[in-house]
């Protein structure tokens, strides 16, 4: 090979190296630009700014994020917004903090949904999927019921395959704010504790439901033993099963903590369940205790869209001590959101 040929070869080699280097730089930059970390940072910053804007907006408003966000999970709490991709480690979570004026709350979670909306309702900043934001007012209305003589705590008994999920934790020992259903007025009763009223409400509901519907009953505390479940699969309602279930709900003693997550998981695992009635104080103390995380998990479990109606067992009294009142408000919030996010109704006794 002569010298001229070698020089030409070297030149071609050099040009190729330069092109490869240029392409690599471009590829790295492109990859970086489209990296999930960058996207997550942008999303978290945008949501933080949306929250600041909503706080500074007089009245109520809903803002939709103008991008598809189906790859990401968002959890909003009263001090931060976190953005991450399902399944990735804690260290990859992008967190942005913000400050709310006193009395404001922020909450909500969205996972794997195309749209994301932030709404301001009075002093609440709510993060949710947009389809549900359209029905904000409808969804979050607390239907306060003072009389519960029909339905289950006043909620109409709709649905074909129904699970009653009943809290039997220590808090069910408290005096109930609910009236006994009319059917129980003349009956002998063990007392007026939450658990007693629950017993009569279930019996009343079973009497109102026509034969042929399918049902089950799940009691829960900090654990759910086998004997706390009426039947592991749906039972068809008839005279015999009605009597058996009425016997089943008698005499439960309140004790222990509240594992809402496992209870709802069990209820949602019933094949073809379309309606759940959840009776609780809304204060999970075992397993998943963070309300935002619990809502997220329930959303994941309830892919088939069962309606979850929630019943608060407590009365928020004007003379409640501040800590007690705060706990009740939190419980109310969680139950309200559970119902709103799952097409159900939330009821609470009034003072």
């Amino acid at each position: 090979m002569n010298k001229r040929a070698v020089t030409t070869m070297m030149m071609i080699l050099e040009i190729m190296i330069v092109l490869i280097a240029a392409y690599s730089i471009f590829a790295i930059a492109s990859k970086f630009a489209s990296s999930e970390t960058t996207n997550k940072i942008i999303l978290a910053d945008d949501i933080k700014m949306m929250i600041d804007t909503l706080i500074g907006t007089p009245g109520e408003a809903v803002v939709q994020y103008p991008e598809n966000v189906s790859k990401y999970t968002f959890i909003l709490s009263s001090s931060s917004i976190s953005v991450f991709i399902k399944g990735e480690g804690e260290q990859k979570k992008i967190l942005r903090y913000f400050s709310l004026p006193e009395g404001y709350q922020a909450f909500g979670a969205v996972e794997g949904r195309d749209t994301l909306c932030l709404g301001k309702e009075q002093k609440k900043i709510i993060l949710r999927e947009c389809a549900k934001a359209a029905a904000i007012v409808e969804d979050t209305l607390t239907k306060v019921a003072s009389s519960s003589s029909s339905g289950f705590y006043g909620i109409p008994l709709t649905g074909e395959r129904i699970v009653f999920v009943v809290d039997r934790s220590g808090s069910m020992e408290f005096a109930s704010g609910w009236d006994l259903p009319e059917i129980a007025q003349n009956a002998e009763k063990a007392g007026n504790r939450e658990i007693d009223v629950a017993e009569w409400q279930i019996k009343s509901a079973l009497m109102q439901l026509p034969d042929g519907k399918h049902f089950s009953i799940v009691f829960f505390a900090d654990t759910i033993e086998k004997n706390m479940i009426f039947s592991p699969a749906f039972t068809e309602l008839n005279a015999e099963s009605r009597a058996k279930a009425s016997k089943f709900v008698e005499g439960w003693k309140p004790f222990g903590g509240t594992d809402l997550h496992t209870a709802l998981k069990k209820a949602l695992a019933y094949e073809g369940v379309d309606t759940i009635f959840l009776l609780s104080d809304g204060s999970p103390s075992v397993d998943v205790t963070d309300p935002a995380e619990l809502l997220l998990k329930v959303r994941g479990l309830n892919q088939h869209g069962a309606k979850i109606n929630t019943i608060g067992t407590f009365v928020i009294k004007s003379d409640d001590p501040p800590e007690r009142r705060e706990a009740k408000e939190k419980g109310k919030d969680l139950l309200q959101k559970l119902a709103a996010e799952n097409s159900g109704v939330f009821v609470l006794p009034e003072e």
């Binding site: 970086f32 960058t38 804007t53 500074g56 007089p58 004026p101």
Partner: protein, 163 residues
């Protein structure tokens, strides 16, 4: 190997040595300078915009300083209620984290013509981690409700972005 060939070989070695060095420097510059700059340019939001959005609450939110008619509940955006314009209210309106709040945006508010002076110093309403390191200032034309009168003035917002 002739003298020319030895010279050629040495020249190539020097040439490639310099080329590798330049590529290495370029790679290091890319990783430590250009990519972080590029990343910042992608995620950057102007500080003034961030401050503007946070400070909307000072003039539009009744939980901060905005006047709200007690009888009707109507909120008068951009009308500052002079009775509400207190440090106590500021603490409730905007509060950064006690430990790391100095890394966040902090504000000091001055209502032109209404801010008292003590020992020659204006007594501003400030957020909990404001340390007088003012990065920039925002001005908002507002009305002040003083008794039953509405008077135009300027809300001066001193912004400390980060310490």
């Amino acid at each position: 190997m002739g003298e020319d060939d030895i010279f050629d070989l040495t020249r190539k070695q020097v040439y490639w040595g310099i080329a590798v060095f330049i590529v290495l420097i370029a790679a290091l510059m890319l990783v430590f300078v250009f990519l972080p700059q590029y990343k910042n340019s992608l995620i950057e939001v102007p500080q003034e915009l961030r401050a503007e959005l946070i400070s909307l609450r000072f003039v539009n939110t009744p939980e901060c300083f905005t006047y709200q008619d007690q009888a009707t509940g109507r909120i008068f955006a951009r009308v500052i209620d002079l009775q509400k314009f207190t440090q106590e209210r500021m603490d409730k309106c905007y509060r950064t984290k006690p430990e790391k709040g100095f890394k966040d945006y902090n504000f000091a508010l001055e209502l032109e013509g209404y801010t008292p002076t003590i020992d020659g110093q204006k007594k501003l309403l400030s957020s909990n981690k404001f340390f007088n390191k003012v990065d920039f200032t925002l001005y908002k034309q507002v009305l002040v409700r003083n008794g039953n009168r509405l008077e135009p003035t300027t809300l001066i917002i001193h912004v400390q972005t980060r310490i």
